[in-house]
């Protein structure tokens, strides 16, 4: 019986060992806690690229969609024969440099959407600090291109980033009262559909004016849980509650009137 017992122990331990070994042989990815990134004005391109790679593969969550070839364009490898992002970024929008294009992609991702993809990318300047944003841009430029991000870019963008402005009550899109610009900057189309653009996760806003009054729209923006559209009860609470502090009164009013006119 001892032999049988030993065989059983061997089978159990052997099975556990195989599973543990396989799990240790595959790539190891740990989910890190977001860390504050501090980069001085004399930061070097190498430091920026190294920091950007960490953000790209970690807290930025970029790899969740980019690099799969299904949800968003590949950035680190070839995209339909145009090369990695560092090669093609300067050719995407006429007259826009690689650096400007990449910043626009992170700050206002619906401004230019690569044909064949949906405008689902969130506004990353709301989620990442200016240091993190510019580090990612430097990292992306390094994928086949030239890194021209400097410490000045970080310093210049600090006051303008919504992350910074939200702390003291700020505005979207440089205080523009163009409702389309506000909608793009706020990332509304990441969930809502409007005039044929955007996602269908949240209610379609194309005819929102026929369902809600201007007052109701205003209240909904300021307090998203004040009323929930029928059929979307499960999504109650998903809409950020911070829009009231992220745009100024003129912007809010422009947005409300624009939406209310969508009968």
């Amino acid at each position: 019986m001892w032999v049988t017992n030993l065989k059983i122990v061997g089978v159990v331990l052997g099975t556990l060992a195989v599973y543990t070994l396989i799990a240790n042989e595959i790539p190891q990815v740990q989910s890190e806690v977001p860390q504050t990134l501090t980069l001085g004005s004399n930061v070097t391109p190498e430091q920026l690229v190294a920091a950007g790679e960490k953000v790209f593969n970690g807290i930025g969550g970029c790899t969740t969609c980019h690099g799969l070839g299904t949800r968003a364009p590949n950035l680190l490898s070839d995209e339909k024969g145009t090369g990695p992002i560092g090669v093609r970024c300067g050719k995407r929008e006429p007259g826009k440099s690689c650096k400007d294009y990449l910043f626009e992609s992170l700050d206002n991702p619906t401004a230019y959407v690569v044909p064949g993809y949906q405008p689902i990318m969130p506004v990353m300047t709301k989620q990442l600090s200016p240091e993190q944003v510019w580090a990612v841009i430097a990292f992306l430029e390094s994928q086949g291109g030239t890194v021209d991000v400097t410490g000045d870019d970080i310093a210049k963008s600090k006051p303008a980033t919504p992350g910074g402005s939200s702390a003291g009550g700020g505005s979207f899109a440089g205080s523009s009262t163009d409702p389309k610009a506000i909608i793009q900057a706020a990332g509304c189309l990441a969930c809502h559909k409007l005039d044929g653009q955007g996602q269908v996760i949240a209610p379609d806003l194309t005819h929102v004016g026929s369902r809600r009054t201007a007052e109701s729209i205003r209240r909904k923006i300021l307090d998203p849980t004040s009323s929930i559209a029928k059929g979307y009860e499960k999504l109650a609470g998903i809409m950020p509650k911070t829009f009231g502090t992220m745009m100024n009164a003129a912007q809010l009013e422009a947005l409300v009137q624009y939406l209310a006119a969508h009968k």
Binding site: M1, T4, K7, I8, V11, V12, L13, T15, L16, A17, Y19, T20, I22, A23, N24, I26, P27, Q28, V29, Q30, S31, E32, V33, P34, T36, E53, N57, G61, T63, T64, C65, G67, L68, G69, T70, N74, L76, S77, D78, S129, Q143, G163, S166, A167, I201, T225, K234, L235, A236, G237, I238, K241
Partner: protein
Amino acid sequence: MSDVALLLQAAADTSHAYGEFPVIGARAFVWITAEVHLMFAAFVLGVPMFAVVTEAIGIFGGDERYDRLSKEFTRLLLVAYSATAIWGAMLVFGLSTLYPRFWAYLTAIFAPSMWVYAALFFIESFTLYLYYYGWDRWKKGRAKVGHWTLGILLNVWGTVVMFIANSWLTYMMSPPRDITPTTDPTTIKLWHAIANATWMPINVHRVIANVVFGGAIVGAYASYRFLAARTDEERAHYDWMGYVGNFIAMSALIVLPFAGYWLGREIYQYDQSMGITMMGGFMSWLWVIQAFLIAVLFLTGNYYLWIGMGRIPGAERFRPYTKWLLVVLVLGAIVWGTPHTMIADSKELAAMGGSHHPLLGALGVMSAKNTAVNLMILTTFLSFLLYRRANTRPVVPWARTGTIIQAGMFAIAAGIVLFYGIRGYFVEAIVRIGFSVYQVLAVLACIVGVTVIDILMARGAQSLGAIRWGKMPPRSQYALFILAVTFTWLMGLMGFARSGIRQYWHVWQVMQDTSKYAATPALGYASKMISLCVLIFLCLVAFVFWIGGLAEKSTFVAPGAGDGGVGKARDVGH
């Protein structure tokens, strides 16, 4: 959450927010106690389901063997209950001393349900004592039915207890969206917190998983007793018991993925970023390991059946088919395990030559994987069917027609699965997701339809000889051990997935983990913890079995005894 908010939350954490546990650390202590507690809890919830069904077969089928089998399962529960309670108490002590701020938050919301939980656990324990110790006293007539009712009550209490505990952990995953970091927990309504988005999917998933787990552990117990048996009669009894355990585990396993789909869908609907983290984010490799484990389960379960056909007269007819079944299972496992949506860095992408492997990329998508797993389920069902029919020859006049219809059902189901699998490559993702429903429905319809026809066809069937219970090579019993270890490891892995997708949050986007263990570890570390938990659990279960053996000798009855004997006993698994 912005940096400012993170800093504010960190500042709000006092020095009393976290405790420390010597040597292994706070997180490892809570991980081990929670996991081992959960494994025992699954055991004491799964086995009573098993026991009450076998007792019913004994009562209503008139076969005393089942009644004794049921009692033998229940005997194992007595010590297992104590172990469940001990590990549960250790978990509570761990949470209250190592994570006091988080524990205070949970109790502020769930305190009333915790008292109900304790009361129900108390009632459940005494129901078990009545159930076990009253076994021989309430043996006949109405008293026996009353005794069986106690078994049902035992399951009811246990299930409610599990549902309550599930509400706490699912709240951590998917708190209602109107609850924010600034919400005072004492103002949160209890039912609002309980009925969160993932509560019911987890409940259903766990009920089914407990049946699978209970069957697998009973199978392992039987295989040990088989290997230790001194007589042919005892060996025959435990061979049969092992078969029943494996049959129930594999049958419930077939349904489990559907409950898993529902849970996954609810997670995506609740928070898409959580769903993406789970399937395409840092946890993406976990699903390759899961595919490997499930492939082991399918292959080992089928292997056990094929070996078992060696003790069935008439099974030789079907032996040539098994190699083709093996081919389908292996191909299916390979496709299912093909990596696709993986986090990869620039070097890995460059080495691969793109975002996907140039040849295997097409096999890693859901269209291919759903097709593979559905064909594996159909193949396993076919194995059961061949096993069931092995020693019989149907005599009903429509037997040939019935067999042709059954074959047609298999062909149609496989055709539908393949059609939607291929079509999925040519449509949008949102349409493709819907195709999996058609594939699943085709497979389920086939299983139900073929089974009904088979039961009708088996009426008055000519026997080609009785199953030679006990005539199994020892390697078949080691297969049952592998199944039990794999089921247990898989449970640990899925627990890590469910808990890990919260990442650095105690309560998703409501209460952040600001301890030094806030980062969610990689799979390598997790696998070591899972293996350790499985080892602790199996050692304790072996001890439970040994204690159970001391209390009472084996309850086997020699084949032929009772009303039905072996010939009747085989009907359970068939």
